[in-house]
């Protein structure tokens, strides 16, 4: 495995760049970061739309969320890849197609996380904010969202992790990303598929692990500032039963 890495690390890391498009792990990270960065604000809007005081907004966002959540991600990719060029009249490259599909798909899931985070807050929080005279937007921005997003951080992180892994599906529309690079290495070596794909798996794992660990560090930092022990950090503690004496 080390030999494979030593011989092909450039391809794993950046694909055929600068001769070709940026690929490999750096493309995967780029796609994931773009996907995260773009789907988060979309999810926020969708999530707020789901609990909007206006019925029409609630209806439209519910349709979007349920439709997307009822579709396999691969279908979203195929649909974007094949149908979108017909609709808009010119072809789109794989890279923006994949990012777009990720944003659509992840927004729908994250929106439900945002919504449940908001709905889990005690009603008294928004009542207190509104009683002070804050308007809806101010109450959301200052009181509701900071708490709701913090509380849903663990769930959101697992969604972000699954987003990273979903970038690998870009392989099917030949996006030059990490899985694609591994496949290239594999077809070059021909006889070492287990080793090559083990490198792939291990790298995905490290990437996701780094993300969850940094999220936990952020959680700990906030908790320490408030000097309280939120259940989110030690979720199992409440289930620990003291042994009988």
């Amino acid at each position: 495995m080390l030999q494979i890495l030593r011989d092909n690390w450039v391809l794993f890391l950046i694909g055929q760049y600068p001769a070709g498009p940026l690929g490999g792990l750096s493309a995967t990270v780029l796609i994931a970061v773009l996907g995260l960065g773009l789907s988060f604000p979309c999810a926020l809007l969708l999530g707020l739309g789901r609990i909007s005081p206006f019925r029409s907004i609630r209806a439209v966002t519910a349709i979007i969320v349920h439709t997307v959540r009822g579709t396999p991600f691969l279908m979203v990719i195929f649909w974007s890849y094949f149908a979108l060029p017909i609709i808009i009249g010119h072809p789109i490259a794989g890279f923006p197609t994949l990012v777009g599909a990720l944003v659509i798909y992840e927004s729908a899931y994250l929106a439900e996380i945002v919504r449940s985070g908001i709905e889990a807050l005690p009603k008294g929080q928004i009542e207190a904010a509104r009683s002070l005279g804050l308007n809806y937007r101010q109450a959301m921005m200052s009181v509701v969202l900071p708490q709701a997003l913090y509380n849903s951080l663990p769930t959101m992180m697992s969604q972000f992790v699954s987003l990273i892994k979903e970038t690998s599906l870009g392989y099917v529309i030949s996006v030059n990303e990490f899985t694609f690079a591994a496949a290239q290495v594999n077809s070059r070596l021909l006889t070492k598929p287990v080793q090559v794909f083990s490198i792939l798996a291990l790298t995905y794992f490290l990437l996701c692990f780094a993300l969850t660990q940094s999220a936990r560090a952020v959680e700990r930092h906030i908790a320490r500032r408030r000097r309280e022990d939120p259940a989110v950090i030690r979720p199992l503690e409440s289930f620990v039963v003291e042994p009988a004496p």
Binding site: G124, E127, S131, L132, L134, N135, Q147, Y150, R226, E228
Partner: protein, 241 residues
Amino acid sequence: MISFENVSKWYGAHQCLADINATVNRGEVVVVCGPSGSGKTTLIRTINRLEPIQGGRIVVNGQDVHSSATDLNRLRSGIGFVFQQFNLFPHMSVIDNIILAPRKLRGLSREAASEAARKLLARVGLADKANSYPGQLSGGQSQRVAIARALAMDPPIILFDEPTSALDPEMVGEVLSVIQDLAHSGITMMCVTHEMGFAREVADRIWFMDRGTILEDAPPSEFFSRPNHPRAQRFLSELRH
């Protein structure tokens, strides 16, 4: 200052406020009492439109609370509201809880708002807790911070919805004494409570409610010594036992 004119409210088929007519004058302290489910909390929550009403109108400071022409946020900033469950914002320090409204609504700087907030904290006896978080406070301290927060916009009216009902018995006193000081400051106050000793001491008038109506509206001396309505007589005699 606050007037109820034929106010009615239903939850489905259940009428929880039935044709309420009453007035609170400027500077007056009104204590609302009565058995559970009598509509006390609902009544006080209609004053800043936390609850809608289906009939009649409520006029606060010349403004019809439930009219769509009323600037609700502006109206609310002039009515302090203290909840049974405190409802402090747990992600903000004590001082940030208090300066939130002055900063957002008056556009004050953090420094300017903090100065006033520290005075309020001193007034409720918590000057040393400015940088604590709500999670580090006792119930009594939390409620006193909530009172300071409700006063941050300098409202002419403050409403209390059972401010001591969620507290351990030994913390009731510290909160009531803060409310008592406030009652003597000239602010218009309405307080829903079960603390009858407190009602006797601070109230200018006591409203006794049952089944969505105000059965008694009398000064405490009169209410406690010779209640008119049989329901109020029964309520008081049960309290004494």
